[in-house]
């Protein structure tokens, strides 16, 4: 039985003339311990997809199931790492992570929860900064706190919404390695949404492309059988990596080209003025 499953899910916003159908008949099955990367264009509905998986929104059609039963809302069993970190700036690193730990393990004694928090802060290598507040941290550090927070609640599934999208390229690289390392330690089920194919290949077991919207749907999956741990530098020389990369990118650009960009479709017919330059030769002038 898949850990997390989307069955024929559709989602749209708005009513009547403004109705926007974002997702149409999306199906996805994620097995336990699998790392799935969903790759797609900007604005194709990646965040909506993740919201549905998290339970922050409910689908219009179809169902979202976890462990076989439909989910009814968000919960710490499906931990989320938001694109904008969403750390509470008035709480320190410890307190932010503790928010999750205290909530998910409310019945445990204080020492246990404290140990939990420290373990995960340590896992993301932030112990020296454990008492600092988010405004004092860099973007990369903040995202690490977000990861620690999500993990501290011991989720069954971890959902990452373009987690490294707001970071500069160099930090991205570092954090990609971090995520790989952490996942190696904990082996949770992960669904990550990203617009970076390389990132997907680096981290995931399977890459599923999302077609461009509106009415986006998931394309065929691309397996990533590359051995772990995957080192970024070496991967560039790996033919397997390059092949998968080309396949995915090829698929995406083909899809892009063939999908009519309906957002520009309009029924209005414009009469364009017929502009022809005037004859400026002396003969015409009267």
């Amino acid at each position: 039985m898949p850990k997390l499953e989307l069955r024929d899910v559709s989602k749209s916003y708005g009513e009547g003339a403004e109705r926007l159908e974002v997702l149409d008949s999306v199906s996805l099955a994620v097995e336990e311990g699998e790392f799935v990367a969903i790759v797609g264009f900007s604005g194709s509905g990646k965040t909506t997809l993740l919201s549905l998986l998290a339970g922050l929104q409910l689908p219009d059609a179809g169902s979202v199931e976890m462990n076989g039963s439909p989910i009814s809302g968000a919960g710490p069993d499906r931990g989320v790492v938001f694109q904008n970190y969403s750390l509470l700036p008035w709480l320190s690193v410890y307190e932010n992570v503790a928010l999750a730990a205290d909530q998910a393990f409310a019945s445990a004694p204080r020492e246990e929860r404290d140990a939990r928090v420290r373990k995960y802060v340590d896992m993301v290598n932030l112990t020296p900064a454990i008492d600092k507040k988010p405004p004092q941290l860099s973007g990369g550090m903040r995202q690490r706190v977000a990861v620690a927070r999500a993990l501290a609640a011991d989720p069954e599934v971890l959902l990452l919404d373009e987690p490294l999208g707001a970071l500069d390229a160099l930090t991205r690289g570092t954090l990609q390695n971090e995520i790989a390392r952490i996942w190696g330690e904990e082996r949770k089920t992960v669904v990550m949404v990203t617009n970076d194919v390389d990132e997907g290949i680096l981290l995931a077991d399977r890459i599923v492309p999302l077609t461009p919207g509106p009415r986006a749907t998931l394309g065929p999956a691309f397996e990533v059988p590359l051995a772990r741990p995957r080192m970024r530098v070496e991967l560039n020389h790996d033919p397997g990596f390059r092949r998968i990369r080309n396949d995915v990118l090829g698929y995406l650009s083909a899809i892009r080209r063939s999908a009519p960009d309906r957002s520009f479709e309009t029924d209005v017919v414009l009469e364009l003025p017929d502009v022809r330059p005037a004859e400026l030769s002396a003969a015409v002038r009267t």
């Binding site: 710490p76 904008n84 969403s86 709480l91 988010p134 903040r142």
Partner: protein, 365 residues
């Protein structure tokens, strides 16, 4: 952080950044630049103030009222000195009263003792009565309290107490309602007409109603009451007028919480109360404090008017009483009150700014 850096940070927190060049000057950091900055941002206001004093002096001589000419700055300063001196005298008299109290009681007791000694243990009925009376007087002398009207500084203290009481009541009412308004659009639309109607009402219109209601409901024996009716009336009027900025700002702050924070709460399934405590209130805190600051300012202004009518023994009553005197110092005294009110209002505002900065936080990236 070095002491200097800490000092500069403290100044910045207190809103006194203009004094920063002074610190830097003392440590001889770029003296030329510091002097220039000081000249501009400290010198200019100082000169403006001197100019104001000059214009005032001139106008004072020129305008003649039935109470004489308007008081000059020097006269107002002198009057302020008078008020301070009267306060000191009153305190001294009080101290002297209490010092002498024991002596007075002792003299009664000595007289009683002498009578007893003379009667040798078997006083006659009349003498016994005398002894009892003398002892009673000694008792009475000991329990006497110094009673006199409040001095100017007492009145300032009363005004401050009243405004804080009213401000506290206003905050206790406005913040919870504001939070509810921010959380629920339905609640907000229900409250909105009431807010819009009552917000613009002047304290002078509220006060008679408040006084009547307080008079009817507050029926504790004045001897045992902790608070006087005039205090309660003034404080409630201040509360009624100053709760609106806090309420509106709190509602706004709560309604404009970053949706990501809300999502965090949803994912973690935080309980309603935890959500309020850890996410809603801290997130809205900067706006709440902005509202509190405005409320305190409004409350202070309203207080003076309320005190005049409700007879609370504070600055408002001082102004009205001095006006009733119609003496030649009346105008100077009222001007002292004007400056006192302004200065205190400024200090209150400053304090709120400092609190606001302490509580404020940068939005996360």
């Amino acid at each position: 952080m070095s002491a200097k850096a800490r000092l500069i940070r403290g100044l910045s927190l207190a809103g006194l950044e203009v004094l920063e060049p002074l610190i830097r000057l003392v440590t001889l950091e770029e003296p030329g630049k510091q002097l220039r900055l000081l000249g501009l941002y400290v010198g200019a206001p100082f000169l403006a103030f001197l100019g104001f004093l000059a214009v005032w002096s001139g106008a004072a001589r020129a305008i003649v009222t039935n109470y004489g000419t308007l008081p000059t700055p020097a006269e107002v300063w002198r009057e302020a000195g008078n008020l301070a001196r009267q306060h000191a005298e009153s305190r001294a008299a009080e101290a002297e009263f209490y010092r002498g109290q024991e002596g007075r009681a002792a003299s009664f007791e000595a007289a009683a003792a002498r009578l007893e000694a003379d009667a040798g243990g078997a006083p006659s009925a009349a003498a016994a009565k005398q002894i009892a009376l003398l002892k009673e007087r000694a008792e009475g002398a000991r329990s006497r309290r110094y009673s006199s009207g409040p001095t100017y500084l007492d009145q300032i203290a009363t005004s401050l107490e009243t405004v804080f009481a009213g401000f506290l009541v206003a905050s206790l009412v406005a913040i919870p309602i504001g939070i509810l308004c921010g959380l629920s659009k339905v609640f907000m639309s229900a409250m909105n007409p009431l807010i819009q109607i009552f917000k613009p009402v002047s304290p002078l219109a509220w006060l008679p109603i408040v006084m009547i209601v307080v008079g009817a409901l507050y029926t504790t024996d004045p001897r045992e009451a902790w608070f006087e009716k005039s205090f309660i009336s003034s404080a409630f009027t201040v509360a009624l007028c100053s709760l609106w900025p806090t309420l509106v700002n709190t509602a706004l702050g709560v309604a404009s919480i970053d949706p990501d924070h809300v999502n965090v709460a949803r994912v973690l399934r935080l309980g309603w109360w935890t959500r309020i405590r850890k996410i809603v209130v801290p997130s809205a805190l900067p706006l709440i404090f902005a509202g509190l600051r405005i409320s305190l300012g409004v409350g202070w202004m309203v207080l003076i008017a309320a005190e005049m009518l409700a007879q609370n023994p504070g600055l408002g009553k001082f102004v009205w009483d001095m006006f009733q005197n119609g003496s030649s110092q009346t105008l100077a005294q009222i001007m002292v009150a004007v400056f006192t009110i302004g200065l205190i209002g400024f200090l209150l505002d400053r304090t709120m700014i400092v609190l606001q900065r302490l509580v404020g936080h940068e939005a996360p990236a």
